[in-house]
């Protein structure tokens, strides 16, 4: 377990283990003794739990213990009943995840159909998306982005970890390109990204 101070590692282990939610690195820094090397502690712990029934995983700027994904078929009893997400909601979530920050009009433009009333609401209620700011465009529309809970739910270490994001980027599919003007609000698509 490298040269990490055992007490620091035990303490980090206990803090991470005690929490069901991902623990932000900042919070670990605050709670470990001042002299501890949190990065090294996390690396040592991650290595110690690799291949075990429980793994230490990075979720954005936070870390959490999670059961190993390969055990899923054997862990059925813990399975919580979850509402199935509609195809429209899942697609909307994917667009927000890959294209963030993104406005409602931009999502509608990509999908070629208006968003039904509850779609964004339901994703927001699940805690997976959050308003991120406003686009510098007429009407200053709200932009949406994903949350740490989204990363946690889908077992992603970060947005770079989104499946196939490099391919989408390489294919220019995440660029703001002029699209056909059949639907309204298409003008917003051309607005510069970034808030």
């Amino acid at each position: 377990m490298s040269g990490v101070e055992p007490l620091h590692q035990r303490l980090a282990e206990a803090i991470l283990f005690a929490s069901a939610e991902p623990v932000p690195v900042k919070s670990l820094v605050d709670r470990l003794p001042a002299e501890s090397d949190v990065t090294a502690v996390l690396a040592a712990l991650e290595a110690a739990y690799r291949g075990r029934g429980v793994n230490l995983v990075r979720i954005g700027d936070a870390w959490a213990f999670r059961t190993a994904p390969d055990l899923a078929p054997l862990l059925t009893e813990e399975r919580q009943v979850q509402r199935r997400l509609s195809r429209a909601a899942m697609e909307t979530l994917a667009i927000i995840a890959y294209h963030q920050p993104v406005t409602r009009a931009e999502i509608e433009n990509i999908r070629g159909v208006q968003l039904s009333r509850g779609t964004l609401d339901s994703l927001f209620e699940l805690g997976w998306i959050r308003p991120k700011g406003r686009r510098a465009a007429p009407g200053r529309p709200v932009t949406w982005a994903t949350t740490t809970a989204f990363l946690d739910h889908f077992g992603l270490a970060g947005l770079d970890d989104l499946p196939g994001i490099d391919d989408l980027k390489a294919a220019g599919l995440l660029d703001a390109r002029p699209a056909i003007q059949v639907y309204g609000n298409a003008g917003e698509t051309d607005a510069p990204d970034g808030d």
Partner: protein, 268 residues
């Protein structure tokens, strides 16, 4: 341009004769176009937009034949595709304001490809091991105990003023209270007796006050009010002794006094 009626998007499944149009499975015209494009069994990049426009228009025509109430957005797309088709077939000299037919077709192809990519991305995302389904968090999280440490904030100033307050409260025991500067009834008696002799008849009580008292009363000074009160008390005392008589016409009215005729046997 977008259909204003976003409230209800009809998704009819209607059988008309032998031809069945099922729009229910489609999420809007772009989704329908994507499905039709896939039927061309070519890479989306090589898809023939012209052929696609024909297929879409044929679909919409059949749907209308079957008296299907298609959502407005399908019809808007049909109109746009008919326009695109005409532009592709009969190239006109490009006007500076309008995009060329080729760029319009390219934009449509891009949108179809993008939609398909996001579809795929959504499917891959949905297939990931999900928290609470395939992957689990700690089932019995242990609450971190929070201890409240109260930090007392006290400054030297607080300490000193506390001690000073204590000393002040202690001090009156050894403190000699300075003589009051207020007029006493005894002094008022002396003054009244002295002045009474020179009073020819009924005089207002106020005329027996020291000259500076009037100004003090006007200013509401405590000393002046005390002098007035002492003088009034002295007048009552002298009246009790039979040395003067008092008269007041009405409540709060001016008080008049007059020396009483000397009584036999009064020595004072």
């Amino acid at each position: 341009m977008s259909p204003a009626s976003g409230l209800s998007r009809p998704e009819p499944t209607v059988a008309a004769g032998t031809f069945v149009v099922d729009v229910e499975g489609f999420e809007g015209p772009l989704d329908l176009l994507l499905t039709l494009a896939r039927q061309q069994k070519v890479d989306l990049k090589q898809v023939s937009i012209l052929e696609l426009a024909d297929q879409y228009l044929a679909f919409v025509a059949k749907a209308r034949q079957a008296s299907l109430d298609l959502a407005a957005e399908y019809l808007v797309m049909a109109a746009w595709l008919a326009f695109l088709k005409s532009r592709l077939l009969l190239p006109e000299p490009p006007s500076p304001e309008e995009p060329s037919a080729e760029s319009m077709a390219e934009a449509l192809a891009f949108q179809l490809e993008r939609l398909e990519s996001f579809r795929a991305a959504a499917a891959r995302l949905a297939a990931r091991p999900r928290l609470g389904r395939e992957v689990f968090a700690r089932g019995a999280p242990e609450a971190v105990e929070t201890t409240t440490v109260s930090v007392v904030s006290a400054h030297l100033g607080d300490l000193l003023s506390a001690y000073a307050a204590h000393l002040c409260r202690r001090e009156p025991r050894q403190l000699h209270i300075a003589p009051s500067e207020l007029d006493t009834v005894a002094a008022a008696l002396d003054r009244l007796e002295r002045l009474l002799g020179s009073a020819p008849g009924w005089e207002e009580l106020r005329t027996f006050l020291p000259p500076e008292t009037a100004e003090g009363l006007r200013r509401g000074r405590l000393g002046a009010r005390a002098t007035l009160a002492a003088t009034f008390t002295a007048s009552l005392e002298l009246a009790r002794r039979g040395r003067l008589r008092l008269r007041q016409a009405r409540p709060y009215g001016p008080i008049y006094l007059v020396p009483a005729p000397p009584v036999e046997g009064d020595t004072s």
